[in-house]
Each structure stands twice: as C-alpha cells, then as structure tokens.
Subunit: 109 residues, 2 copies
DNA sequence: TGAGTATATAACAAATAACGTATATGCGCG
DNA sequence: CGCGCATATACGTTATTTGTTATATACTCA
C-alpha cells in the first residue's frame, strides 16, 4: 500500500478517518462505532499508521488513535492545480455537498 | 470502479488528470506525453469518463479530453472536515509541496 | 472506395488487496 | 501467577484490477 491515494480508496478507512476527525478513539470504540470486526479495524489502522494518516497513544491496554495531517496535506496539494476549475463557482461546492451520500461515521440502526 | 477515491488511486490516472489540468488533449497526445501504451490510455480514460472526471469532444478522428470538476469537488468536500488540523500552519503545506516527489506529467528523457 | 490514422474494446494472465477465522501478544488486576 | 480484556497478526480464499496483445470501429483523404 504505497500511495496516500490508494490508502483512502478504501471506504472503511475513510470512515475511520472521518470518525477520528471528530476526536481520538480506541480500537474498540471504532469497532463498535462502525460495526466492523476488530481484526478488520486493526488491519486498516495498520495501513493508516504505516501511511502516516494516524498515530497511536497507549492508554493502559488500549491504543488511542488520532489523525496526523501530513498525508492529507498531500491530497490537498495534489488537488490545488484543479481549483481553478471551480473557483468562482463557490456554490457548486455546496450543491455537491447537499447531494453527496453521507459517509458512515456512526453506528447503523 | 465505483468510488471517486478508487479512481484516483491509480497513478497513471492521476498523471492523466494532472496533464489535462493544463489543457485539453487528444488520446495520442496523452499517450506520447506519458509514454504509456495507447490501449492503456484509452482504458484509463474510460474509467475517468465513467466516473465523471473527464469528458470528450470529437475533433475529426480524434477525441479531445478535458477535465470535469464535479468528482474533484467531492474530494474537496471530503477533505474539508480535516482542514482544522492544519489551519494556521499554512507553511506546512508549502514544505510538504517542496518535499513531494513530482507526478509525471511530461515525457521521460 | 480503399488505405491510413486515431481510438476503443476484447480476452487472458498476473498481481494485489480485502475479508473471515483463528491465534498470538500485551497489559492489569484479583 | 494466572485469567480476562484489548489489540495485533497470520493464513487461506476470493474478487477486483492492471497490463498486454490482438483486433474492431470510425473517420479522412486521395
């Protein structure tokens, strides 16, 4: 899993990142919040950690994960040259946001 | 190839997009500029077109491809909640840009 | 109309990544 | 020390994707 872009191609990993955008969480909290099996969470966290998207802090037998901005800045940087295509159409962004299907960052009903 | 994110996970497709960011190009121009086989270019363009990243204009027997901003706006939107992690550290972005390995948008020597 | 150029698609092989299950490590507490 | 909880890893399977080669379609111009 080399590139920043490949890492966020995976929907579960994006969900994890979006969840951590709010605040740091333990593996168990992520597991329960996203309703995915624990080994899956750990594996995705491993990929995210290796790519520098997150870092872990030890709290007793738990690991608390939190965002690290660097790789996201790379995304931001890659995106920059395209901004001119929608500069001026500021509301296009809002319209798009409205129509977007929301990423799951929560428990399912 | 469902998601916007999966589409740009592929380095050649990012190279094509970056090339088109400058101006519209024919398939042959892309092929020659990036040094990749024509069927490969066509196939990637197909994926990009299906995902709405580009559109084609017919010019005699050539197709001229150009950027469409919508999917990139989705990226931009997804990124938005993370901006707070580097807001204020504006120079972090520039440092990152400096250290980034450049995407190939040109002929190789 | 026939040759040539530009682009698209088909078909197959190879590589990669994701998931599930089972198991290992690590820490704290009785 | 040994049990239990929290997290990590190994392994086998399956599915998806990419590159490659060959061929099809489409348009232009002599």
């Amino acid at each position: 899993m080399e590139s920043t872009f490949a890492v966020i191609a995976e929907p579960n990993r994006r969900a994890i990142l979006s969840l951590l955008a709010a605040s740091e969480r333990s593996v168990g909290e992520i597991e329960h919040a996203l309703g995915m099996p624990q080994p899956s969470v750990s594996k995705h966290l491993r990929v995210l950690r290796d790519a520098g998207f997150v870092e872990a802090r030890v709290d007793a037998q738990r690991r608390l994960y939190r965002i690290r901005p660097e790789p996201l800045l790379e995304l931001e940087a890659w995106l920059a040259p395209f901004r001119r295509f929608w500069a001026g159409h500021v509301d296009a962004l809002e319209q798009r946001l409205d129509r977007m299907e929301p990423e799951r960052t929560d428990d399912q009903p």
